[in-house]
Symmetry: C2
Subunit: 127 residues, 2 copies
DNA sequence: ATCATTGCAAAGCCTTTGCACGCGC
DNA sequence: GCGCGTGCAAAGGCTTTGCAATGAT
């Protein structure tokens, strides 16, 4: 894997993004920084970064694919405000242990999971 | 909402499908039964059925949108075998109650969730 | 009779691919 | 210099839409 400046730029943008980001937004972000990286290259590199374990692909429930950095350690799930779109990342070991139990009941060995909680955040409820 | 024969056909096919089904598969299924329903009509009706609460749209983690019947009562989550694709539906109140707690901790009022557990089923592990 | 619904084909959107050029090693 | 990586534009899937014709009530 060659570390071309485009690939680095994609990685850095992904690392800098506070929220989960779409391919297009990432490309726009790069463009706004004056870095010209073709959209196809963004797509290609996001895929590669996922394969390399440096990024993670998210499907939050709509059809839009988003990416986030993957530092390889912080597994987490998502709590999403349906009103303002704020997303909170969390990790709950108690739930995860129940998931393990449940899979075992069905004879499955668990390899992973995705959990998305949807709700209305405190701020939005006040308005 | 008019109950045209096409709409009924889509609904019936969805009801009959044992597994979660894609728009295209559903269209093929109809075609194989000799019912000629345009693909656009399938798409339009699946959307409408979701709005009407008769169907549910699933995003199992790939980019493929699948549908399942929604009888309005049986909320459930999915346990998916990554090897053979078998999916098991389950509902675990203990996990759901923990989800509620967790949302509350973050000031959210929970409106829903999606949970997908991925693993290898007993059969596939034997092979 | 009226208006929602359909079918078809065209258009849209996002994503991937082919190919010649350029850059990292 | 070699070969991977890039950019561009074209092609690909899947989904939606425009429009005239059809069908449900």
């Amino acid at each position: 894997m060659k570390w071309t400046q485009q690939r680095l730029a994609v990685l850095e943008a992904l690392w800098a993004a506070k929220d989960h980001i779409t391919s297009e937004d990432l490309a726009n972000q790069l463009a706004s920084e004056g870095k010209r990286v073709g959209l196809a290259t963004v797509y290609r590199n996001l895929k590669l970064l996922v394969d390399a374990g440096l990024a993670r692909e998210l499907h939050l429930g709509d059809q839009i694919v988003r990416y986030e950095r993957n530092d390889g350690q912080t597994h987490h799930d998502h709590l999403i405000c349906e009103s303002c779109g704020e997303t909170i990342e969390f990790c709950d070991h108690e739930i995860e242990s129940l998931q393990e139990d449940l899979a075992k009941q069905y004879g499955f060995s668990l390899t992973g999971h995705r959990m998305y909680l949807y709700g209305i955040c405190g701020n939005c409820r006040k308005q």
